[in-house]
């Protein structure tokens, strides 16, 4: 292999490692909520604006995820599920991860501010809540840190809506509420499934603090609120009756599984709720954009 070929292979390998650092699926889902927030205004779609919004949002979300990986490399190394992540396994040095994380963040948030100051502020708030409040401050201290992680996750959809309508209004807050209350359905289910992993790493979670029953009740309650937020937002946005019917059907599936986790708890029901909640959010976002 020539030096040039070796260099290319090495770069590709580095890219693949950084790609895993941004959690592509999670970032993609959050980006989808941002796009849905913009499209939910149902105005004339400014394609170039939508594109630069998507890129700035993608970079900002990726930046916060990389910074999370940078700070939590020690926790990740203790958990079976995450110990192969490049920052935890040592494939990437901490300095590399920090530098790339900050560079991607500055690029993404800076671009967002340049597009629109209020939009940029909401995007920055998402980054700040995730990296500073959730990761650096609360994650190792209290299980309630997920609330702030949830607020952070709700920012992309609010940012998209803000960019489309020019301000923060009730529909934007409802959409943000839908994501905020969907996130516990997702993360708490995860914390039940990987209970031992989180315990081994010493990360406080709802199941370890309040027990499984309470956690399941919180999951069910948050699913109800998330579904209600999406439904009310859908009505206020003025989506067609057929789309609303479809939202009701999908929400019913979410509620059914949430109640199943409370009344017929099992690992399988848990896992199905976890998977269904992601699919539900993605489809709901698409439907609100139509």
């Amino acid at each position: 292999m020539t030096t040039a070929q070796s260099f290319i292979v090495d770069r590709k390998s580095k890219f693949a490692q950084f790609w895993t650092l941004i959690k592509p699926l999670q970032t993609g889902l959050l980006l989808a909520t941002g796009v849905a927030g913009y499209m939910s205004a149902h105005g004339t779609v400014d394609i170039p604006l939508l594109l630069v919004m998507s890129v700035s949002l993608f970079l900002s979300i990726s930046g916060s995820t990389i910074m999370n990986m940078w700070h939590d490399h020690d926790i990740d190394a203790k958990m079976k599920r995450t110990q192969k992540r490049p920052a935890a396994s040592g494939e990437l040095t901490r300095a590399e991860v920090f530098n790339v994380g900050m560079a991607v963040t500055i690029l993404g948030v800076g671009w967002a501010v340049a597009i629109d100051p209020l939009y940029g502020l909401v995007v920055f708030a998402g980054w700040f809540f995730d990296v500073v409040v959730y990761t650096l401050w609360l994650k190792r201290r209290t299980c309630w840190s997920i609330l702030w992680g949830g607020i952070s996750g709700a920012m992309p959809i609010l940012a998209g809506r803000v960019l489309a309508v020019g301000g923060i209004e009730i529909i934007g807050l409802l959409l943000a509420g839908a994501v905020l209350f969907w996130i516990p359905t997702h993360t708490l289910t995860f914390s039940i499934k990987f209970f031992d992993d989180y315990n081994a790493a010493g990360v406080p979670t709802f199941p370890s603090t309040y027990g499984f029953d309470t956690t399941r009740a919180v999951i069910a309650l948050s699913s109800i609120i998330a579904a209600a937020c999406i439904g009310v937002a859908g009505v206020m946005i003025g989506v067609q009756a057929g789309i609303l019917r479809l939202l009701v059907v999908l929400s019913s599936g979410l509620l059914l599984l949430s109640f199943a986790t409370v009344f017929r708890p099992s690992e399988r029901v848990n896992f199905s709720l976890f998977k269904y909640a992601s699919l539900y959010m993605l489809i709901s976002m698409i439907l609100l954009s139509i």
Binding site: Q240, A241, G242, I243, R245, L246, V248, V249, L250, S252, G253, L256, A260, R268, F271, S272, K275, Y276, L279
Partner: protein, 217 residues
Amino acid sequence: MFQQLNCWNKHSAAMKMTSIDRLLLLLMGVLAGYQVAVGINGLGTVPITTYTIGFGALLVAGLLIIILGFEVLDSPIVVIVSTVIPLSISLGLVWEHLASYRTPYLLFTIIGFLAVIFTRSIPIKNRVRVPTIIIAVVHGIAGMTIFLLPSILAANGTMKPAFALVGLGGAMIGLGGLLLSFLKAGKPIVPRETILKILPGLLMLMTACFVAGFKLG
């Protein structure tokens, strides 16, 4: 037809779902979603509600099978869902096309549904036979209604010929139920694995027939 699957859930758990199966179930979900969102626009409140419940249950069931594989058929709620689908679709058809039978059929639907839940929830002396008989009667009437009513309406010219596709969809539910019933009786016409192999395709074709029948009929 789902309820018969319960008896051989251990076999279904062992059966791995292929990408083609997932694709077929996804197509079924998309078609059912289309029917809920677009296909029933302009109908009365009751048919819209019943079709939304029926096709909505198909959609959610499809998504859950995709997520969890055939193991989801182990769940006791499958019996309830499998009852909701034919009951709600048949009620919608009767409400639309047999005005004089609306009230009796609505009563049958409510009583039938409650009877299925009741016989599945509480201990009964003859535990094995009573729930099976109840399900057979409820499914039988609902299935025959979905099969015969659209076929007759298409044949006598009341509806366009394509409306018979809805009846074909009903026949597919019946065919699936029949095959699975033989399995339950221990006299399978075709092996269990074959049934699970054709199940996603059968569900997709059935939904496609319903959607096409409603759209073109």
